[in-house]
């Protein structure tokens, strides 16, 4: 019997067995940031351990940084302490770091691929659940906790058990204005936030093959929102072309050997998945979440569902609670719903392609009166490119704030927050209660949908074309 891509990567990283069901796997890249690493470093110190592979560990500052000023204390005293702790820990252990003075600093899941640190066939971990993003390159990438961060720092390995495999096959052509963000939101709507628990999901099919690397990253980024341990896309020419010439990608002397290895990273045709879902992409319309879980999602011009429409009692209760929190009533149309804040950014949608999509919707139009709109590029590289292409000017002329790279309003750990009962169209990945600020009402959308909401002052169906 053939093997799935996941099984191939897993097998090739087994260092040894810890017991009959648990293997010790080797980690090729360990990405760290300020929030989930300080306790790991103090744990190491306490036990007298050292970082085993400083050359396979890379740090960035992202969660806590101010996006207004490049200064460690710009987002407050506690943030400063955490950022300083990361800088000190990296200096002590000689771990390379993209700090606030580095021109390429940015969100960990944006900089990994940009720097060529993310490569097919690798195992990549980070103390952050959206590490699934890197699966877009055919790497097995997943989020870990701080105890595991400490474990990887000390040993460059991690105990693991084999996960089940889920195949998500997506075929058909996307309609105009429908993006990878809409696809993954529709998939989550179908499978639910726990639908992937215990599985590693491999996305395949003709729709996926046609996607750019940026779009593939958006898709894999949100595979954690359906509970999957990781998302994977087999590497192909698009992947190789993206990587060629990147700072940490294999150099000319190794390039052809690396590519020929990468080409073997496919699920075998006779591989058996534990579960398979097939999705027709042509049926997907622009999506918006209406509730407080990514699975509470609808096509933008369909009415907000009534709790009674859910046959499952749990989902019914969740819907009641969500409607109350979101200040919505069943049957209401989101296209009648005013927005107060628009956030374009986060590791889901802050790459150059996302900013291009948003800017093309904005054009010469202006942000609606009363709407506060932010564009936060994912990294210094994205920021410079967007400025060079004139995208930044489009945003600024329209009335958007153009910020420095960081996680920003995705989770509001810095000073970018949504106030209680404010409604936010956000390109991020979580619409949980309080995620963007206590009482904040988050609606997840694609960059184009967010840009359109900023212009119109309410949600619109961009596929219709007559909204502005």
């Amino acid at each position: 019997m053939g093997q799935t891509l996941y099984q191939k990567i897993y097998q090739s990283h087994v260092v040894g067995k810890l017991n009959p069901s648990t293997d010790l796997l080797y980690v090729d890249r360990h990405l760290i940031h300020e929030v989930t690493s300080p306790q790991a470093f103090s744990g190491l110190r306490l036990a007298g351990r050292k970082v085993r592979r400083t050359d396979l560990t890379f740090a960035t500052m992202d969660h806590n940084v101010s996006t207004q000023r490049r200064s460690l204390d710009a987002a407050g005293e506690t943030s400063r302490k955490q950022l300083e702790a990361l800088a000190e820990n990296c200096a002590e252990s000689q771990i390379p770091i993209l700090d606030l003075t580095h021109p390429d600093q940015g969100i960990v899941h944006v900089i990994g691929p940009e720097q060529g640190l993310t490569q097919p066939g690798m195992i990549i971990v980070c103390g952050d659940s959206h590490t699934s993003t890197h699966g877009a390159f055919g790497a097995l990438a997943f989020g870990i906790g701080t105890s595991e961060v400490e474990h990887v720092l000390a040993t460059q390995t991690l105990p693991q058990q084999q996960a089940k495999t889920l195949k998500v096959e997506i075929n058909g052509e996307l309609s105009p204005h429908v993006t990878a963000k809409d696809v993954i939101m529709a998939v989550i709507g179908e499978l639910g936030t726990a639908g992937g628990n215990g599985y590693v999901a491999e996305f395949c099919g003709e729709t996926i093959r046609a996607l750019s690397m940026e779009s593939r990253m958006t898709l894999c980024n949100m595979s954690i929102e359906m509970g999957a341990k990781a998302g994977l896309i087999a590497p192909d020419e698009i992947t190789f072309a993206y990587l060629e010439g990147k700072a940490h990608a294999p150099g000319a002397e190794h390039w052809s050997a690396a590519v020929s290895y990468w080409q073997s990273l496919q699920s075998d045709s006779d591989a058996v998945f534990d579960k398979t879902v097939v999705i027709d992409a042509s049926t997907i319309a622009p999506q918006v979440t209406w509730g407080t879980s990514p699975e509470q999602v609808i096509a933008v011009d369909t009415p907000v569902p009534a709790p009674e429409s859910f046959s499952d009692e749990t989902k019914r209760h969740a819907a009641e609670r969500a409607l109350q929190y979101m200040g919505l009533t069943a049957g209401q149309k989101l296209t009648d719903c005013k927005v107060d804040v628009v956030f374009i950014g986060s590791c889901t949608n802050s790459r150059i392609e996302d900013l291009r999509a948003a800017a093309s919707v904005v054009g010469t139009k202006k942000v609606a009166a009363g709407v506060r709109a932010l564009v936060v590029p994912g990294s210094g590289i994205v920021k410079r490119q967007a400025e060079a292409e004139g995208l930044a000017d489009i945003f600024k002329n329209a009335g958007f704030e153009w910020r420095e790279p960081g996680c920003s309003m995705c989770l509001g750990m810095n000073d970018d927050r949504v106030a209680a009962e404010e409604r936010c169209a956000s390109t991020s990945n979580r619409n949980f209660e309080g995620r963007q600020g206590r009482g904040a009402r988050t609606h997840l959308v694609s960059p184009a949908m967010a840009a359109a909401a900023a212009i119109a002052g309410k949600f619109v169906n961009i596929a219709k074309g007559d909204w502005a």
């Binding site: 260092v15 302490k81 690798m122 952050d128 659940s129 906790g145 040993t155 628990n197 750990m413 979580r430």
Partner: protein
């Protein structure tokens, strides 16, 4: 050695999909220490906007003070990978969490902190919530025999991964046990460098 993992009061949290943003909101993640998270547990639910305890939140009910076993529903701990979530639960006093299902990363994080997470069928979870509805409950969790003991000889069995059971019973050092494979790690690194030199 006693095989009782925990003996204590149950607090029923009747919710599905409790995410780690709820378990511990982000404003408490800026700490660089591993302690001091008990107060932050379920902060937005536990306290009103003025900072006073919310009398309607179950953790604040007088009858659940001192609880050490949390009973909840499906997909507990979904969302962010923050280990601050199990730290907050544990520092508040919860040693055991019983639920219909758990998110993967949260599950690993909790086990790595020596907590016992028990997964039961929806029917059994319902039975436990029914028990709680009859008045405050005090149960013993026996990890060796894999039983929740209600007193009066009544009990409910549970399944647990053999490796995790072993780790919890022996209190094995997480990093230390992997370090025993040190020579294999070195051998792997040599072979990796030889066959895929671009990996570093």
């Amino acid at each position: 050695m006693s095989t009782i993992f925990t003996s204590g009061l149950i607090c029923p949290l009747d919710k599905n999909n409790v995410d780690t943003d709820q378990i511990i909101p982000k404003q408490f993640l800026t700490s660089v220490s591993r302690d001091g998270f008990a107060e932050a547990l379920f902060y937005d639910w536990r306290y009103l906007a003025d900072g006073s305890p919310n009398p309607e939140f179950v953790l604040n009910y007088p009858q659940y003070q001192g609880a050490s076993i949390l009973l909840t529903r499906a997909n507990f701990g979904c969302g962010s990978s923050r280990e601050h979530a199990p730290w907050a639960l544990q520092q508040y006093g919860f040693q055991v969490i019983i639920a219909e299902s758990f998110a993967d990363i949260f599950f690993n994080n909790s086990v790595n902190n020596g907590m016992l997470l028990i997964q039961l069928s929806k029917t059994n979870i319902e039975l436990l919530f029914n028990r709680c509805a009859q008045g405050s409950q005090h149960w013993q969790i026996d990890l060796a025999s894999q039983e929740i003991m209600f007193g009066n000889n009544a009990a409910m069995g549970f399944n647990i991964d053999a490796d995790i059971k072993q780790r919890l019973l022996s209190g094995l050092d997480f990093i230390g046990s992997s370090e025993q494979l040190a020579s294999q790690i070195t051998a792997y690194e040599q072979q990796r460098k030889a066959s895929m030199p671009w990996l570093g």
